[in-house]
Every structure is written in structure tokens, then in C-alpha cells.
Amino acid sequence: MLKSLRIIGHLIRKEFIQAFRDHQMLGMMFIMPVIQVLLLGYAITVDVRDLSLGVMDYDRSPESRQLVEDFRHNETFDLDRVMSGPDEIRDALDRGEVAAVLVIPRGFARRLGRNESVDVQLLLDGVDSNASLIAFNHARGIVESYSLDVLRKTLVGTPLPDLRPRIHVLYNPELISRFYMIPGVVVVLLTMLTTLMTGLGLVRERETGTLEQLSVTPIRTVELLLGKILPFVLIAFFVLAIALTVCLVWFGVPMRGSWTLLVLFSLLFLLNTLGMGLLVSTVAHTQQQAVFMVWFLLIFGILMSGFFFPIENMPLLMQRLTYLNPLRYFMAVVRELFLKGSGMMSFRVETMGLMILGPVAMALAALRFRKRAR
């Protein structure tokens, strides 16, 4: 046991010397993630806002102008352009210069004056299905409140229901996307870093022949694998600490949960990514293959983690598939910890998932990795 520890100690020392002697890699490991967190924090704008709106007003009456004014004062839309005809509308939508066009028909004011309903069209660039749907919902809201105003004017004295909900947003009252996305970016970077470092570790030793040299020594598989992993746990923690500091200090992401929990879950998560990396390095023959495999795992990890798209929106089969994705669990833990300050009890599924997947990956790696060729 003591001897094992000593051997592992030597392996760790070696990895550290190698890591710190490699300045290019070191820079890449420590500086790039910080730069990415800093930059990408600003890229995240899921809120649909300032959609460029074109208006085709065939009526040109005070009433129609009032409706246009209502759109102008809504922050969802940016009234960019007054259109002059159908050709211009098609061209502008084709080129993506406007996201939607409001078409007010001739006779708009006349029909309203006669208490007759009038049809107004909203042409939307449906390519971005999400944004166009949200835009339509907002437009409908504007038009409905215009309608209600008209009704109120005609029915003076009759009480009309007026339901205005009081909205109370918990955890992130201003709905700042960054608070939700930046911890996610950190998780992604951490995964990329650790999986890649371990993934390349053994493959490189195989390529340079040092793995063979190690194989004739009495070192045990477990010792070797641990010696490969532990240095990266330390490095990963350091990178995590820097990245989180950027999160908290620069972007002001609130941390409402327990730091102990965060550290514990980070450890558990690292067990997973490092296990994946090790597994890759036992399968890949060359560094390039290792990188491609890590890439595949990483994209799977990112897209099936709920980072961009909530898992609940996925088809059931895909939702099931996400249970194989350690990022899914850690992503949820980090976001919930930061914004909600949730406790251990709300992370039962996550704990289970991480506790199963990590050791399985490790065990598979240990099984696949044999010191002796067959």
C-alpha cells in the first residue's frame, strides 16, 4: 500500500514536471479557458429583443398609425423600415433584413369606426422558429390590448374583466441569461480540458514508446492509471477556481449554494471526465484519433446536457439517452447551486448518475488497458 502510494507519487511528480515544462500547453490550459469564459459570457442573448420590424401600412390613418406606435414602444420590436409594396416585403424577408412585417389593410380605420372587425397580417421570417414564435406572441399581446382599448371605449360604463397578473420571478428576477449560461460554459471548458488531457496522456506515451518501458516495470495498472489521473484533478481544480472567480467577480453570477457541495460534485464529475479520457486513450491508437473521439464525446456532452436546449424539450428517447451523459448531471448541479442554492436532497438523481457513470468509465478503462499485449 505504502509502496503503491510512493510509486503513484513518482508518477504524479513526473506528470507535473512534464506539464509545467510545456509552456504552450500550459498557456493553452490556463489562459484560454479564462478568455473563453470572459468572451462567451457576452455572447449569450437568448432574450428575443429588438427584432427588426417592417411596416406596410396601406391605410395611413391616425388609427393605423396608433397601432404602429404601439409596436414601436414595445421593446421586442425595432421599427426599422416602412415598406412601400409587396416586392419590397419579399425582398427584405429574403435578405433577412427584417424579421417580421406588419401589414395593415386599406379600410382599417373605416371598419373600426363602423364597429367591424378587421384583419391585420403579420408576416414572419419563420426560419428561426423559436424567435418567430416569440415575436408572434408579443405581437398578439400588443394587438389584443389595442382591441381591448377599442372595446372599452365603445362599452363605457360596462365593467370588463381586467386580469393583470402580478409576476414574480424567483432566483433571477431580471432574467439575465448570463447567470444561467456562464456556469454552463465553465462546465463545458472543464470537460474539454480534462477529457483531452487524459485522453492524450496514455496515447502519447504509447506513441513515444515510454508506455512499453513502463510495462516492463512492476507497476500495476491501477497505480499507473491513478498516477495519470491525479495530477489532472489538481490542475482541473485550479482551472475551475480561476474560471469560477471570473464568473463570480466579473459577471456577478450569484452563488447561493454551498461551496462544499460544489467541491464535492466537482470531484465526482472529474472522476467521470477523467474516466472518459482514460477510456479514450485505451481505445485510440494515435493522438489524432484520441482527439477525434474526445471531440465526439464532447459534442455529445454539450448538446445532450441541457446547456443550450432544455432536456425536457427533447423527444423521450433522447431524454433517456442523456442519462448516459455526465455533463447533464453536473450542468444541473452547477446551475441549481449557483442560482437556487439547492441542497443535497434535490440532487439525488445527479449524485446517483455521477456515482455510477464515473466508476463504470474507470473500470472499463482499467479492463481495456492491459500492460501486456495479447
Binding site: Y42, N115, S117, G126, V169, S177, L298
Partner: protein, 382 residues
């Protein structure tokens, strides 16, 4: 000169074909990815878990709950006694939105003292939160309108038909152009192809020059009369062909599986795709000339492509609503130019007349990166 370039190209081709594992990865993985994520990535939010705190317990309050559930956008996840109880539901992720109907709500409808409804929403995921809020407000507003229309018919019954208004004064009719069925996959899949291609291309070339540095074959090439430009071009073109084949493969697959329409000219699309791929390949190449070790190169290529390809590229987050400095950075991400092209050509059927500017940018990016690579690539070893 052509002869030497061709010699380098032929050699690169052999590298590619010999490494059957990598080749398989390059062709199979993107297809698997497109397939998987075309299904997985979905904005259409349905079945939002709704919590209800009904302190009124009247027919009117029950009817309101029913209209929420009947909308198809919400499913009942739990009923709670009070606000504290409801908050518990949030922290255990049982609910995203909770409707609070206060005592006296039904009386307020009939002109009693106002008792506003409450909407509690979990704001930790702002996108889902604002969608859920939007739906909820829409439902409430429709209930308001129905109430108004009812009041209207009462008035009409009393005073004859003088009031008018058979329906709402203004009806808004939406037309979703290019994507009438509102499919997320039509938005996602073309861009996904672009993102995957960019990452794969950069990864492919990032290792090429460094690998030769590591194995010493670069030295061998350097003592030959091959000039840096020839070497670089000879290395680029084979991967260009490979990536083009890859791109066509994924595109065909994506269009087939997800029914993404191809409304524009395929020829135009392939032209732009060629430009795009060359730009992406030169990114990897530049990295390859900058560093000394394969793993550093590939690590770098992954770092500079993966997240930027998703986040600084119009893939989900529109570049034009980002801060100016990020818009500037996104100018060197080839996907920023290409994603509008691929969406435009496939879904809108527009062509080069709309996107020539983007094409020029891609071309300029390729030329600049190639020139820098050649300049960085000194014909001697340090």
C-alpha cells in the same frame, strides 16, 4: 511547381486513406451527430410543469386552471397550499411556473375589489422562464378577452345590435414564411452541419504540419526543393476535398432524415461550402504552424472552434445582438458567414445575389490565413 504540389497532395491523400479509423470517425461521427442532435435540439417547449395554488376554490378559479391545462402548453405538476409550499416545488425542480389564484378572485371578476393573479416563475433558465411567462400571459389575456366578449354579448342583448363587434376589433393573422410548420429542425439542422464541418475541418488540418515536425519528416521535406506555399497548398486541398465530401454526405443525410427543404440551387450552396471549408481548414493550418506539438495543436483547434462555432456564429445566438467587440471577433469565425448562407439557400431559396458579401468575407479570410500560415512557416528548423 504544380508537380511538387501534386506530390504533396498525393502523399496527404494516402495518409488520410490509410488511417481508416480516423476516416471512419470523420464520416460516421458527423452523421451520427446530425441525426442525434437534429432530434435532440428543440426549442418547442411543450408540457411546461405547472404548479397551482388555488386559494379561491370557486368555479371561476377552477375554470382558469382548466384553461391553462387545455392550452397544451402546461401540464399540472402539483397543487400547493401556499406560496412557501410552492417555492419548495421550485427548488426540487417540480415546477417551472406556478399560478397563484388569490381568495376573492371570482368576486373580483364580477366587479368586486381587485385581487390580482400571481405568476411565480423559476427564472434560473431565463429562456424557458420567459417562454412560460409569455404563454401564461397569453392564456390570461385570452380569458380576459372571452370575459369581455361575454360582457359585450350581454350589452348587445340588452340594447339590440347597435353595438356591433361580432369578434375582436382587430384579428392578427400570422404567416410564418419559409417554415410554415414552425419546425425547429429546419432552423437547427442546416446550421448544425455548418458547425460540425467547421470543427472537423480545423481539427483535421491542425495536426498535419506539427505531426511532420514531430516525426521528423518535415526536415526531409525542407531539404527538398518544395516551397512553403506548395507544401501548404498541397496539404490544404486534399483535406478540402475530404471535407467537401463529408459536407455533401451530411447535407444529403440531414435533408433526407429531417425533411429539410432544398429550395435554392445546390450548385450555389456547394460553391459557398467550398469557400467555407477552405476558411475552416486554414484556421487549423495556422494553428499547426504556430505550435510544436500535435497535442497542443489539436487542443488549440478544439478550444478555438468548439464553443465559438456554437456561440459566435448565428447558430442560436444572433451575432447582431452581441456587443461590438464580440461582433468583431465573430468576423473571424467562418460559420458566422456561412450559417446565414446555408439557411438562406436551403429554406428561402435565395442565392448568390444576397450572399456575395459573405462569400467575399470567407474568401478574404481564407487568403489572409493562408498567407499568414505560409509566412509563419519558415523553411528551416529552429
Amino acid at each position: 511547381m504544380i508537380g511538387r504540389t501534386i506530390a504533396v497532395m498525393a502523399k496527404e491523400f494516402r495518409h488520410i486513406v490509410r488511417d481508416s479509423r480516423s476516416l471512419m470517425i470523420i464520416f460516421i461521427m458527423p452523421v451520427v451527430m446530425t441525426f442525434l442532435y437534429g432530434y435532440a435540439m428543440n426549442f418547442d417547449i411543450k408540457d411546461i410543469p405547472l404548479g397551482v395554488v388555488d386559494q379561491d376554490s370557486t368555479p371561476a378559479s377552477r375554470e382558469l386552471t382548466t384553461s391553462f391545462l387545455a392550452s397544451g402548453q402546461f401540464v399540472l405538476a402539483g397543487r400547493y397550499r401556499d406560496m412557501g409550499d410552492a417555492e419548495e416545488g421550485f427548488s426540487f425542480r417540480e415546477t417551472v411556473l406556478t399560478l397563484v389564484i388569490p381568495r376573492g378572485f371570482s368576486r373580483s371578476l364580477d366587479g368586486g375589489p381587485e385581487r390580482p393573479l400571481g405568476l411565480l416563475v423559476d427564472g434560473s433558465d431565463p429562456n424557458t422562464a420567459s417562454l412560460a411567462l409569455g404563454y401564461a400571459q397569453g392564456i390570461i389575456s385570452r380569458v380576459t378577452i372571452e370575459g369581455s366578449m361575454n360582457a359585450l354579448s350581454v350589452v348587445r342583448d340588452r340594447s339590440g345590435s347597435a353595438v356591433g363587434w361580432e369578434g375582436l376589433p382587430i384579428e392578427l393573422h400570422p404567416r410564418f414564411w419559409y417554415n410554415p410548420e414552425q419546425k425547429s429542425s429546419h432552423f437547427i439542422v442546416p446550421a448544425l452541419i455548418a458547425v460540425i464541418l467547421m470543427m472537423a475541418s480545423a481539427l483535421l488540418t491542425s495536426a498535419t504540419v506539427v505531426r511532420e515536425k514531430e516525426t521528423g519528416t518535415l526536415e526531409q521535406l525542407l531539404v527538398s526543393p518544395v516551397r512553403p506555399g506548395e507544401l501548404i497548398v498541397g496539404k490544404l486541398l486534399p483535406y478540402g476535398v475530404l471535407a467537401m465530401a463529408d459536407g455533401a454526405f451530411i447535407l444529403f443525410f440531414g435533408a433526407m432524415v429531417f425533411g429539410v427543404p432544398i429550395r435554392g440551387s445546390l450548385l450555389v450552396l456547394f460553391g459557398f461550402t467550398g469557400l467555407y471549408i477552405m476558411a475552416a481548414l486554414t484556421i487549423g493550418l495556422l494553428i499547426s504552424t504556430l505550435v510544436d506539438q500535435q497535442r497542443v495543436a489539436m487542443f488549440g483547434a478544439m478550444l478555438v472552434t468548439v464553443l465559438p462555432a456554437f456561440m459566435l456564429s448565428n447558430f442560436i445566438f444572433p451575432v447582431k445582438s452581441m456587443p461590438v467587440f464580440l461582433q468583431l471577433i465573430s468576423r473571424v469565425v467562418p460559420a458566422t458567414y456561412y450559417i446565414p448562407i446555408v439557411r438562406g439557400v436551403l429554406l428561402k431559396g435565395v442565392g448568390a445575389d444576397v450572399f456575395w458579401e459573405n462569400g467575399l468575407f470567407l474568401l478574404a479570410l481564407t487568403v489572409i490565413l493562408t498567407v499568414v500560415s505560409i509566412a509563419r512557416f519558415k523553411p528551416r528548423l529552429d
